[in-house]
C-alpha cells in the first residue's frame, strides 16, 4: 500500500471510530432521556402530592455512564478482549513452535516498520488468530491449533495479515466496537430479564390504573418505543460491526502479501484454517470480527450472495484465496507484486 493509501485508510478508521462512539452516546442518551420523557408524561397528570418526574436524572446518569464506558473501552478494551479468550502472554519459551512464533512476529514487525507487538497464545485447538490494541500498545494472539497446523511460511503470512490490521489502525476501531457491543448486549439482556420478571409480577395486579389522559397515552407509546430500541440494539450493533469488518480483510490480505512478498503461503494458510471448520470455542460472538477467519464456523462465510453479504463478518474464503493466488501468479510472471487484484 502506498503512503497516501495508508494515511487515507487510517483517516477513514479514525472517522469510523468517531461515528461509532457518537452512535453509542446517542443510544445511551436516548435510553436515558427517552425514559425520562416517558415518566414525565406518565406522572404529569398524577395528584399534586404524588411523585412528579421533572428532573431528567435517568438521562444524565445514562449519558455520563456512556462517556465513562467509552473511555474505559478505549483504554482497557484490548485487555478485556484478551482476557475473554483466556490467552496467555508469550514472553520467553522453551517450546520450538513458540520460539518460531516469536521470531516470525519480530520479522513481520521489521517488514512493516512498526514496533514489535505483544504476543499471546489462546488455548484452543482450532486454528485462528486476531490482533487487538489501542494507541498505546498492540497485541497479536494466535491459537495453539494455529501453531500446530501451519508451516513457518504460512504462520508468517497470518502474522503479516494481523500486522497489517495494526498498521492500518483497524484494531483500534475493531476493539472499540467489540467492547461497546459487549456493553449493549449486556444492557439488552438486563432489559429482557426485567420485562420478563415484571410481566409475571403484573399478571395478578391487573395493571396500574389512573394515568388515563392524553399525556399518559403518549407516555406509554414512548415507553414502548424505548423498550423496542433496547431490545433490538444488540442486533443492530452487530450489523454495524459486520459492515465495518469485511472490506478490511481483503485490504489486510493484500498488505500481508506486501510484507512477506509471498502471497501463496497466506493463501494455503487460509485454506488450512478454513478446512478445520470446527468453531473456535475460546472466541465469542462479540469479538468475531477481530479474527482472521470467522471463529463461529458459520456456513455463511463460505457462500456468496446477498444474505451472506449482509450477515457475514468475513468475505467468502474462496474470494480471498483466489485474490492471493492471482497476486502470486502476477508476482511470478512480472517480478513486481501488484498492490491488489
Amino acid at each position: 500500500m502506498s503512503d497516501a493509501n495508508l494515511f487515507e485508510q487510517q483517516r477513514v478508521n479514525r472517522r469510523r471510530s468517531a461515528i461509532v462512539v457518537t452512535i453509542f452516546l446517542l443510544f445511551f442518551a436516548w435510553v436515558g432521556f427517552g425514559g425520562d420523557l416517558a415518566f414525565n408524561l406518565l406522572t404529569a397528570e398524577a395528584d399534586p402530592q404524588e411523585y412528579h418526574h421533572t428532573i431528567p436524572w435517568i438521562g444524565i446518569v445514562a449519558t455520563l455512564l456512556a462517556l465513562g464506558i467509552t473511555w474505559h473501552a478505549r483504554r482497557n478494551g484490548p485487555k478485556r478482549v484478551l482476557w475473554a479468550t483466556g490467552a496467555r502472554e508469550l514472553i520467553a519459551t522453551k517450546r520450538q513452535e513458540e520460539k518460531v512464533l516469536i521470531n516470525v512476529v519480530e520479522e513481520m514487525a521489521i517488514a512493516s516498520g512498526l514496533p514489535a507487538p505483544k504476543i499471546w497464545v489462546v488455548p484452543d485447538k482450532d486454528p485462528n488468530a486476531f490482533a487487538t490494541g489501542n494507541d498505546k500498545a498492540s497485541h497479536i494472539a494466535v491459537t495453539e491449533g494455529l501453531l500446530n497446523t501451519l508451516s513457518r511460511d504460512e504462520l508468517q503470512g497470518v502474522v503479516a495479515h494481523e500486522m497489517a490490521h495494526i498498521r492500518n489502525h483497524d484494531v483500534r476501531l475493531m476493539t472499540l466496537l467489540a467492547a461497546l457491543i459487549g456493553v449493549i448486549t449486556l444492557m439488552s439482556d438486563a432489559a429482557w430479564r426485567t420485562m420478563y420478571v415484571s410481566g409475571r409480577g403484573r399478571g395478578g395486579g391487573g395493571g396500574r390504573g389512573g394515568s388515563g389522559g392524553k399525556k399518559g397515552n403518549l407516555g406509554a407509546i414512548i415507553l414502548v418505543l424505548w423498550l423496542i430500541t433496547l431490545l433490538i440494539a444488540p442486533l443492530l450493533s452487530r450489523l454495524l460491526a459486520l459492515g465495518v469488518s469485511r472490506k478490511r480483510e481483503l485490504l489486510a490480505d493484500a498488505s500481508a502479501a506486501q510484507f512477506t512478498r509471498n502471497p501463496a503461503s497466506l493463501a494455503t494458510a487460509l485454506r488450512k484454517i478454513e478446512d478445520s471448520s470446527a468453531p473456535t470455542v475460546a472466541i465469542g460472538r462479540g469479538s468475531a470480527h477481530l479474527c482472521i477467519a470467522d471463529p463461529l464456523g458459520r456456513r455463511l462465510t463460505h457462500k456468496q450472495g446477498f444474505i451472506a453479504d449482509l450477515l457475514a463478518t468475513h468475505p467468502p474464503m474462496g474470494i480471498r484465496v483466489a485474490r492471493l493466488k492471482a497476486m502470486a501468479f502476477q508476482y511470478e510472471q512480472t517480478g513486481v507484486l501488484p498492490e491488489s487484484v
Binding site: 503512503d3 521470531n103 521489521i110 512493516s112
Partner: protein, 192 residues
Amino acid sequence: MTIVFVVILAAIVVWAVMAFNRLIALKGQTLNGWKQIDVQLKRRHDLIPNLVNAVKGAMEFEKETLDAVISARNQAVKIQADALPTGGVAALAQAEAKLTSALSGLNVVVERYPDLKATSNVAQLQEELTSTENRVAFSRQHYNDIATSYNVLQQQFPWSLLTGFAKAIPVELWEIVDDTDREVPNVDLSMK
C-alpha cells in the same frame, strides 16, 4: 494590493514549512530503516561464531567450508563499520551476499550429517539463522521501500527546490548482488 501580496507570501511560507517537514520526516524514516538493517546484520554476525562452534566438533574434515564462512563474516563486519546510506551500500551488499552464499554452503554440509541435525542445539541454531536471514531480508525490503519514496520525493518539482535547505541527498538502495542468482548454470549434455 499589499494585503494580497502578504497573503500570497504567507501561503508560500506555510507550504515551504510543510514540504520541508515532509522531507525531514522521510529522511528520518530512511535513516531509521538503515539503522534497523544495521541491527539485524550485527545479529547475523554475532550468531555465526555460535553456529560454527556448535557444528565444528562433528565436522572436523569440512574445515574449508567453515573457514569460508568465518572469513566472509569477518570481511562483512569490517565493511559494515563504515557503510552509510549515502555511500558504501553496494560494497556492504556484496560482502553480505558472499556471506549468504558461504552460509548456504554450510547448510548443505549440515544436511549431510543427520546426527548433527538431530541435536536440538543445532536445530535451534538453524531456526535462529533462518529468522536472522529473514530479518535481514525484511529490513532491507523496508529500507528499499522507504528510501525509494525519499529519493523520488527529492526529485519531484516543488520539493526539489528545498532539498538543499533540508540537507537531503539521494540515498543508495540495497540492490541484490547475489552472484549465484545471476550466473547461468553450466549444463553439459554431451555425456562424454
